[in-house]
């Protein structure tokens, strides 16, 4: 871990510091931020990020541009700007009390999660009974601002809901350090969509920590489309018998962008199922990193786990790193994984051109098919339409 800290946290000295904050700060000071020596960050360089001084906003949230406001989704939404709740842009008022101590799920944070634990000021607190469809929007306004955001999403027994998190941005370099805590009671079903289209010079580091109860269903879909550096980590604990999770994602990289999907599924109970399918479409000098770890605890028999990671390289300078990691301590389990890295299939391109499509149309169709393959199981409505729109918008720029 690196020990330097350029995040200028002095602004926070006067704020009350409830349980967990000082501990988190001490841990951060002692252990620092992750760097190349950390196994989990091996392919994701933090040097550039840590050399920039990011500053939290104190006082009222900034007003984002009219162009960004026009992009806000319809319906129930809570909007946060640089980590602060923006009442005026929100239609929903359900914020997490920043005085609240962390739950055991978020104990002993390190690195950016410790930064979040020490500095978070706002976030959504959703206790859902079923039928909800909520948008949580974060806007980074750039100018080297730090947004530390914390959401808590809880679903009652048997409830089904959709939560779409949007990460938007403008104004250049910013750092978003977000943590989402997901607690699903038995039989609950959450469709969790994470869309990142932040400023091309910004940094986005997000950890989703989920605990999935018996027969509950946690489906997460990530579309990462813009930031200079994006790292989305899932840590999903399948805690009750029959729990299910599907983690899908697509990294869309151009220019110098770097997208890291870091997935950990912990099969802690018997008879649970997990699916991971993360793809990348990479142009220019972009890089995508995938780490997919599956832990099967002793006693987690009848575990059924599949993992896939496919990357499509559009340029000779694009890079994809893939790391499947399996730790299995039970004997009656089925764990499959597969990974491919390649360019567009020449036979398929010829086939499409023989049918009259131009090379550009043929390439576009193949890229769409590849990227949209992870978006096939989304429920109707914005959880389906928004990720598809973001993928379409990105591809139309290739």
């Amino acid at each position: 871990m690196r020990t330097r800290d350029h995040t200028h946290v002095d602004h926070y000295a006067a704020l009350p510091r409830p349980a967990g904050r000082d501990e988190a700060m001490s841990r951060l000071e002692a252990l620092g931020f992750p760097g190349r020596k950390d196994e989990d960050w091996y392919y994701t360089p933090t040097k550039r990020l840590l050399e920039t001084a990011f500053t939290p906003v104190v006082g009222a949230p900034r007003e984002p541009s009219a162009a960004l406001v026009a992009q806000l989704p319809e319906g129930a939404r809570a909007v946060f700007v640089d980590g602060l709740f923006h009442q005026g842009l929100s239609t929903l008022d359900a914020t997490l009390d920043p005085q609240q101590p962390p739950t055991s799920l978020l104990a002993d944070p390190t690195g950016f999660d410790a930064l979040n634990a020490a500095l978070w000021r706002s976030g959504a607190n959703l206790s859902m009974k079923g039928g909800e469809e909520v948008h949580l929007v974060h806007i980074a306004t750039g100018e080297q601002r730090l947004g530390a955001l914390r959401h808590r999403l809880q679903l009652a027994e048997g409830a089904e809901a959709t939560v779409v998190e949007h990460y938007l941005g403008e104004g250049g370099a910013a750092l978003v350090a977000a943590v989402s805590e997901v607690l699903l009671a038995p039989g609950a079903r959450l469709h969790h969509v994470l869309l990142q289209q932040a400023d091309a010079d910004s940094h986005y580091v997000h950890t989703v920590r989920a605990q999935v109860g018996a027969d509950a269903h946690y489906a997460a879909t990530s579309v990462q489309a813009r930031a200079r550096l994006a790292r989305l980590a899932f840590h999903v604990e399948l805690a009750g018998t029959g729990a299910f999770t599907r983690l899908c994602g697509v990294a869309l990289g151009a220019g110098q962008s770097h997208v890291d999907h870091h997935l950990l599924v912990d099969h802690a109970a018997p008879g649970c199922t997990s699916r991971q399918d993360v793809r990348a479409v990479l142009d220019d000098r972009a890089r995508a990193v995938f780490t997919g770890k599956v832990v099967v605890r002793e006693g987690a028999q009848q575990t059924d786990s599949e993992q896939a990671n496919h990357s499509l390289l559009l340029s000779d300078d694009a890079v994809a790193n893939t790391r499947p990691q399996l730790e299995i301590y039970a004997d009656d389990v089925a764990c499959a994984h597969g990974a491919t890295v390649g360019s567009l299939d020449a036979d398929a391109l010829f086939y499409l051109q023989q049918r009259g499509l131009s090379p550009a149309q043929a390439r576009g169709l193949l890229m769409e098919g590849f990227a949209r393959a992870v978006l096939t199981e989304l429920p109707q409505g914005p959880a389906h339409d928004l990720p598809h729109a973001l993928v379409g918008q990105w591809l139309s720029g290739r």
Binding site: Q353, Q354, L366, E368, R372
Partner: protein, 255 residues
């Protein structure tokens, strides 16, 4: 319709192995010609070269289509002019729905001919109608192109696309391979129904049985990169019963 004039072609990469060694062929409008030949004789390459496949390079000779050389045209420009090849092995394209692909394809060809593009409803109406021709289930429109299709479904899907694109030159590269007799009859019947006085068919096959349903005006025997013998529908039957050795022997004797 189609004229091949002393056509020579080789692999565009690697050692540049010559494959077509002086092919001469005249296919008039409205006719069906069959090309039969042993494995590795270059007969599949012939259809790919006519479509403009980038793996092959024409070293001499010409391909004239409707009176003009098409050697300088790209793959899609030849398709726009009405060249269609049904693939021996249609490519599976995961994630791309058959309907999405085919609507883009139909409209690319229509636009190149100065026609208005079809809207979604017009496309679906036409597609449903033409799927009946080869007894394809309309549910296939919503599935990824050729992905998980049976061998028969893939071949029938090729004929369905041909019906949608209404080409003037239909190149059929072993449309019968991997088909049972019932599927063969459906595929051949589909092609037969697309025949018109201003359309021509060049069918490449190993087996005469397809030609029972799709009767050729002429049969060409293709050996070692060129056409060595031309006859009527009976020649196909003779090849089927006697193989190719006698053709080679004749060739040697005349040399």
């Amino acid at each position: 319709m189609l004229e091949l004039i002393d056509l020579h072609a080789r692999l565009a990469t690697g050692a540049g192995t010559p494959i077509l060694k002086g092919v001469n062929l005249t296919l008039p409008a409205g006719e069906v010609h069959a090309i039969m030949g042993p494995n590795a004789s270059g007969k599949s390459t012939l259809s790919k070269v006519i479509t403009g496949h980038p793996d092959y390079e024409v070293t001499s000779g010409d391909i004239r289509f409707q009176g003009e050389s098409i050697l300088e045209l790209s793959v899609e420009e030849r398709a726009h002019r009405g060249v269609f090849m049904s693939f021996q092995h249609p490519v599976e394209i995961p994630g791309v729905a058959t309907s999405v692909f085919l609507k883009a394809s139909v409209n690319a060809v229509r636009e190149a001919s100065g026609l208005e593009p079809l809207d979604a409803a017009g496309f679906l109406r036409s597609a449903r109608e033409k799927m009946k021709l080869v007894q394809l289930d309309k549910a296939l429109l919503h599935r990824s192109l050729n992905e998980g299709f049976s061998g028969g479904e893939k071949k029938r899907n090729e004929v369905f696309q041909m019906a949608m694109l209404e080409p003037t030159l239909m190149l059929l590269d072993e449309p019968d391979s991997g088909l049972d007799v019932d599927a063969l009859r459906i595929v051949a019947g589909g092609v037969e129904s697309l025949r018109r006085d201003d359309r021509s068919v060049l069918v490449i096959t190993h087996y005469q049985r397809l030609l029972d349903y799709l009767v050729p005006d002429k049969t060409h025997v293709f050996v070692d990169g060129r056409i060595v013998k031309t006859g009527g529908a009976d020649l196909a039957k003779e090849v089927e019963s006697r193989g190719y050795q006698w053709v080679r022997d004749e060739l040697k004797a005349s040399a």
